[in-house]
Amino acid sequence: MVSYIVRRLLQFIPVLFLASIAVWAIIYAVPGSPATALVGTDATPEALAAAEQRLGLDKPVPLQYLQWLSGAVVGDFGDSAINGAPVLGQLAERIPASLQLAFFSLMIGLLLALPLGIVSALQPRSVLTKVINVYQAAALAIPTFWVGILLIIGLAVKRNVFPSVSNFVPLWVDPVGAFRHTFLPALCLGIYISGIIARFVSASLKDTLAQDYVRTARAKGAGEMAIMSRHVLRNSLVPILTQVVMAIPFLFTGSLLLEAGFGIPGLGAVTFEAIQANDFSTLRAMVFLGSLLFILGQILTDISYTLVDPRIRLQ
């Protein structure tokens, strides 16, 4: 199995490499220079040129890329144009907040999706399932940040149940406070995710329930509970797992507006600021990290497959 993982890692190195080039090239093509962040938009041409030289922007493009790449592999992504601090350090500071948000969102998403998916798979023709179908469609019909705004107005501003501007309260410092601050944004993301995952849970369960070996189990006299736990769940896990793992990078990077709207100091918020300030170093680092996360997610999914399905393990 170790060789399998190593092989997968090696497969992804060219992807990472090419992705970094693509990232770099695209951001390079954005009009406007990162130097303006340093000297302001109405600086003299000389000041601009001087700033550019300081940022190393006057060197030939491939050289700039190589410089960046050599820094990137050791974790040096340059300094943020906004406040001059090293990018990696800044991003690292924000990770716990995003991690907490992602964790809570995933929990809420799964807590919603699993029962909904199970019910609609076991009772496909009931009224409850029809309601669930409409819920799934509705969950994917509103942008998450709109839900956020409605929740803020409804619950935070008018009624002060939850704070309207969330701060990052780490879970291990103050669990209740962490819950209060993270619940609303996590709910927004969680609802969206549940809309996607519930469908996969339902489809996967239905597929498994239709398999011949479930019929064999029934013919042996096994009860429904036994069938679910021993035969159905493990076999349904694979597609569900794929979806859950694929959702994780989305949780980190797609929560851009949500974090900004709720005031959570996470990776999404810092990206948002970087976009507005033309902070290319940060943007490049974020996209690079995003790719890294995605690839790690793929590998994690593969590993989890091998744990669940012995056919893969013993290849």
Binding site: V15, L18, A137, A141, I142, F252, T271, M286, V287, F294
Partner: protein
């Protein structure tokens, strides 16, 4: 369409031709469906399950078409001179001359802030926005924009993804590796970020936004069609066709492609709603398409913090978007059930 300087007459011509094309396409498509047992069964299955949603989508389409049939000239009383020279659609004309000075509440008789009497008291069902335009009018115009975002982009995305996915899955080998590489690179970049950066590069016209949305969303369907093509390639009738000497192109066109069409339909519908949602995000960041519901809400977000709250121009836009996407999603789900290959042949 591209917001650049096409003359009004030309704009009208383009709009009207597209409407004509769509209607003709719809009629021809309808006939083709009626002849084909499987698709006809699928359609009737769809109507049986989600009649309301299909009707709702149809209504939106009608509104969008009404907003696309336009011509230059003619002027209503009280209309300013500029308007007479622009290409104005049916909807524009229906609401011609209803412009007020600024905000007014629904069914109100007076302006919101200075309380001066409206030109058309009690006529504005949802009041007027900051420019004095009737909110119902602006909301209706958003339908065409939404359908454009979803429809045009899908039109770009799906053939692209289909081509790459089909060839990768069918031919395998080096082609598959190359496509896999491309797909991985794109898929690994965080979607929203890539989207924003692309728009910063390409500019903010409707076409650029559609292209950017297309680039960031073709990967999903590419993977799907690749998987299906790989499965189809192994089927006996493909081997039989090859044994009879059919060329690869012929096999792709006659055996693989038709068996992917059901996925195309489902993906088209489901992609539609994620595209519209993505545009709403872009609008919130200020780089959306002009006139979209997302932009209406983004422009109005400050009003929510005023006292009293100005809610009447956000609500219709939000509701319009929500109900369109809800209906589209429900139709997409029903299509998925109806076009399931396992049940496809059973309905005839």
């Amino acid at each position: 369409m591209t917001d650049t300087s096409l003359s009004p007459a030309l704009q009208a011509l383009v709009s009207n031709s597209i409407v004509l094309l769509l209607i003709v396409g719809g009629v021809l498509g309808g006939r083709a469906i009626r002849k084909n047992d499987i698709w006809r069964g699928a359609c009737s299955g769809l109507f049986a399950r989600r009649r309301l949603s299909v009707i709702v989508v149809g209504l939106y389409v009608l509104v969008a078409l009404a907003d696309s049939i336009s011509w230059v000239g003619g002027s209503a009383a009280g209309e300013d001179q500029v308007a007479a020279h622009e290409a104005r659609s049916l909807i524009d004309r229906a609401f011609a001359g209803t412009k007020e000075k600024s905000y007014s509440a629904p069914f109100s008789k007076t302006e919101f802030y200075d309380k001066s009497p409206l030109r058309h008291p009690k006529k504005h069902w949802f009041g007027t926005d900051v420019l004095g335009l009737d909110v119902v009018y602006v909301t209706l115009k958003g339908a065409k924009v939404a359908l454009l975002i979803g429809g045009l982009t899908s039109l770009i995305t799906i053939p692209l993804a289909l081509f790459f996915g089909m060839t990768a899955g069918y031919f395998g080998g080096k082609i598959d590796d190359a496509v896999f590489l491309l797909v991985s690179i794109l898929a690994s970049m965080p979607g929203i970020l890539l989207l924003i950066v692309l728009i910063m590069v390409m500019g903010r016209s409707t076409l650029s936004v559609c292209i950017a949305l297309g680039i960031t969303s073709w990967v999903g369907f590419c993977r799907l069609s690749r998987g299906e093509a790989m499965k189809l390639r192994e089927l006996d009738y493909v081997a039989a066709a090859r044994a009879l000497g059919a060329s690869h192109t012929k096999i792709l066109m006659r055996h693989i492609l038709p068996n992917l069409m059901h996925l195309v339909v489902i993906t088209f519908v489901l992609l539609f709603s994620s595209l519209v949602l993505a545009e709403a995000t872009l609008a919130w960041l200020g780089i959306g398409v002009d006139g979209s519901w997302g932009q209406m809400i983004a422009a109005a977000k400050d009003e929510l913090s005023r006292d009293p709250i100005v809610w009447w121009n956000i609500a219709p836009a939000g509701a319009a978007l929500f109900f369109l996407l809800l209906a589209v999603n429900l139709v997409g789900d029903a299509l998925r059930d109806v076009l399931d290959p396992r049940t496809l042949g059973e309905r005839t």
